[in-house]
Subunit: 238 residues, 2 copies
DNA sequence: CGAAGGTTTGACATTAGTCAACTCCGGTGG
DNA sequence: CCACCGGAGTTGACTAATGTCAAACCTTCG
């Protein structure tokens, strides 16, 4: 059963706070209940590129890495989905990306057919869908900018700042970051090699900008300096 | 007045031919009539990053370059809009990119408020909106892949092939390409410098893959070789 | 004809990638 | 308990690709 609670009346032009999570839709979508639970182990796939897009998923716990492959094996990580984020939303017919859990992950599946059913009767939901995908589009364009125009150092710096802001939005410690992904995932996300990512982390540590207790624990010691190194924030929804 | 003709009944899962134009929505959107005409000269802006998104536009003739700027002036071109393409669709509240005509361009403006009005009563239209933005999302992800994972030569080759396919879809000569944008636009689109773009064109010419009559006229002499140099196509909607 | 803007070309500098060795950590089994 | 193994991460030396700077070359347009 799919239940929707109606509380919001803002639509297309509704502005949204600049620090809102672009992949965590507000409005009706976030209030969906009654999906089918699903658990996947680390490295398992939720779906793969080309699979028929029969469901969308909300991440309940754990993390999911969304990526695409080139024929020769080069990989581009498109996004990392955190708890509360939806994955599979922008698919038309077939998934255009693969979704792989970076650790044991719980999800909640909603059938696309049910979505369509509801959308027919409730224009509000389809507008929310539109908004959710638009948010995702903004985020992807932002990323295009981040990755294509920035140097390795700037990419890593903005990556860390982005994770920091994500923590902040979730009410967690802004400057203590747990990386739920490997260096390989980060490298494929930022369009760099693992060696370059590693060297850049080391440089940031040596310069006193971050601490690196274990390789998955980053704490930001000098947020201002990190901001400066990031090449300037490109404001979402500006 | 905004008129919509209803002919299509396929929605979210409807697959779409692989060579469909991702920015030229099928269904209701393409059949919109009654928008407000607007003409902009070469280098004029249709809208700028941060402007309130009050209208969406359909390009009637000419070409529009969509880009974003970083604080220090670096520029990322997100897309080039051709006649029939919609621009401004994914905006939420404010435009996230600037839209600049590369030549004298005629547009047709549709008020966002009117869209919302219709969408309230016609779920089909909001689903079409959803699909249109989803298409745009796919295209942007594709581009992320193209630009982040490919070498300069591969980027230029796929760029030319993409333009060739666009010609084909419009029923024009697939192998004779008129570039409606400057080298600077291409460079900022592909994440390269104008020098690298220029050198790459020269190399393709010297290798007999393309002809370069004037700098805006490219003809593809060896499509197979160009395809090979592009590093493999990443199929849309795969 | 001359100026301006866009394009091409060359010499050189810099960044990031490649290849290879080494380290660190966690898990497994003797 | 400890040794070994494998995977992930780090570091170093070297290479290749792309960017930078500068000059020359076209076109177009006044």
């Amino acid at each position: 059963m799919l239940a929707v609670a109606f509380t919001s009346d803002e639509h297309i032009e509704a502005p949204r706070p600049a620090n809102a999570n672009p992949r965590k839709p507000s409005g009706l979508l976030s209030q969906l209940t009654g999906g089918t639970p699903r658990v996947v182990d680390a490295k398992d796939h939720v779906f793969r590129e080309g699979d028929p897009a029969t469901s969308v998923y909300r991440v309940e716990s754990g993390h999911v890495c969304l990526y695409r492959l080139m024929p020769d094996g080069r990989r581009q990580v498109m996004d990392f989905a955190y708890p509360g984020d939806f994955i599979g939303l922008g698919a038309l017919g077939h998934h255009a990306a693969s979704a792989q859990a970076t650790e044991k992950t719980r999800l909640c599946a909603f059938a696309v057919a049910t979505f369509r059913e509801i959308a027919r009767n409730q224009p509000s939901l389809s507008l929310n869908l539109y908004e959710a995908v638009s948010q995702e589009l903004q985020a992807t364009r932002e990323m295009l900018m981040n990755v294509c125009q920035r140097t390795a150092l700037e990419r890593v710096a903005s990556f860390l700042l982005e994770l920091s802001r994500r923590n902040e939005r979730r009410g967690e410690a802004a400057h203590d970051i747990v990386l739920p992904m490997t260096r390989t995932d980060i490298a494929d996300f930022l369009g760099l090699t693992i060696e370059t990512v590693s060297r850049t982390f080391t440089k940031l540590r040596q310069d006193g900008v971050i601490d690196l207790e274990q390789c998955i624990l980053v704490s930001i010691r000098d947020p201002q300096k990190l901001e400066g190194l990031s090449g300037g924030r490109v404001e979402r929804n500006a």
